[in-house]
Amino acid sequence: MVCVLVLAAAAGAVAVFLVLRLWIVLHSQDVTPRRSLSLLVVAGSGGHTTEILRLLGSLSSAYSPRHYVIADTDEMSANKINSFELDRADGDPSNMSTTYYIHRIPRSREVRQSWLSTVLTTLHATWLSFPLILRVKPDLVLCNGPGTCVPICVSALLLGILGIKKVIIVYVESICRVETLSLSGKILFHLSDYFIVQWPTLKEKYPKSVYLGRIV
């Protein structure tokens, strides 16, 4: 009986500690100026990849090296990324920022998958993506809404919670979202450092978001 109480108290203390750590991580603004930022880009399937690559086309070569994370069943994204990086390398005379990597993790959710099984596959994906995040230790995670991004961002947060590294999380809601946020958006609105929307209606609904017009 006493053992159970002690265990429960210990579990409670750990939970409180983790929540406090999460709060600290979410409220710490790391503004160390640096020459370059290693970027981890979450490329969901189809339209998400197209959009995020359009976004990356506007980023300077300071965002390097670039680590792309795609779902293991997604071959089209790998092709699009390779084409994008090839075009980018052609336009970069110094050839200094052409390093990129493609990593694969299990998909969080198939299109039209049921919600209950989505929770399970998302937990599974988080378990498998944490080692990747731990290994890469990116400076910044950039994502735009596919289910794949939730486990990645949670893993990035964990790095901060465990005191290993504070990873900046930037979420850009898809241009498709004019009036309402996606599910990933609703979750990551509270967990990201910068939450960017692309339509004024969303800025009105979520005043804490960043609105810069269309950026893709």
Partner: protein
């Protein structure tokens, strides 16, 4: 020479079937509107129309290309699913576009973007069910 480019069909067989006619009549409809070439990018679609070429009309069919830029450049009209990438890429080339919304995606998100872009005067949109009706009216 008017070219008519249909893209983003992927699993859009619902569109073709909903018309209750064999896909073979699609080129005829396009031709009757004054176009003389139809290019179909069918993605993973199960319905594969047979390409052909006559004096007055050509039908090209393919699943994927590395880049649709060339076909987009030459098209006079584009019909596409309402994906953001397709819409933006086509509009950036200044091509008129009619989008067909895939209503089965999460929160019907293609509808939100299509409605907004239509409101701003950039395109026409319809669903799989209204496709044919709209097509005749707007084109």
């Amino acid at each position: 020479m008017h070219r008519y480019f249909v893209t983003g069909l992927a699993s859009r067989d619902a569109w073709v079937h909903a018309r209750k006619e064999a896909p073979a009549t699609l080129p005829q409809i396009i031709k009757s509107l004054g176009y003389n070439r139809l290019i179909l990018q069918i993605g993973r679609g199960m319905v594969v129309p047979e390409p052909f070429s006559t004096e007055s009309f050509t039908l090209d069919v393919y699943r994927y290309k590395d880049s649709l830029k060339e076909d987009l450049q030459k098209a006079d009209l584009v019909i596409s699913h309402a994906g953001a990438g397709s819409c933006l890429e086509t509009l950036e080339k200044g091509k008129p576009i009619v989008v067909v919304i895939n209503e089965k995606l999460m929160n019907n998100h293609q509808l939100e973007l299509a409605k907004q872009l239509h409101k701003e005067g950039h395109l026409f949109y319809c669903t799989c069910r209204t496709k044919r009706h709209r097509h005749h009216k707007t084109v």
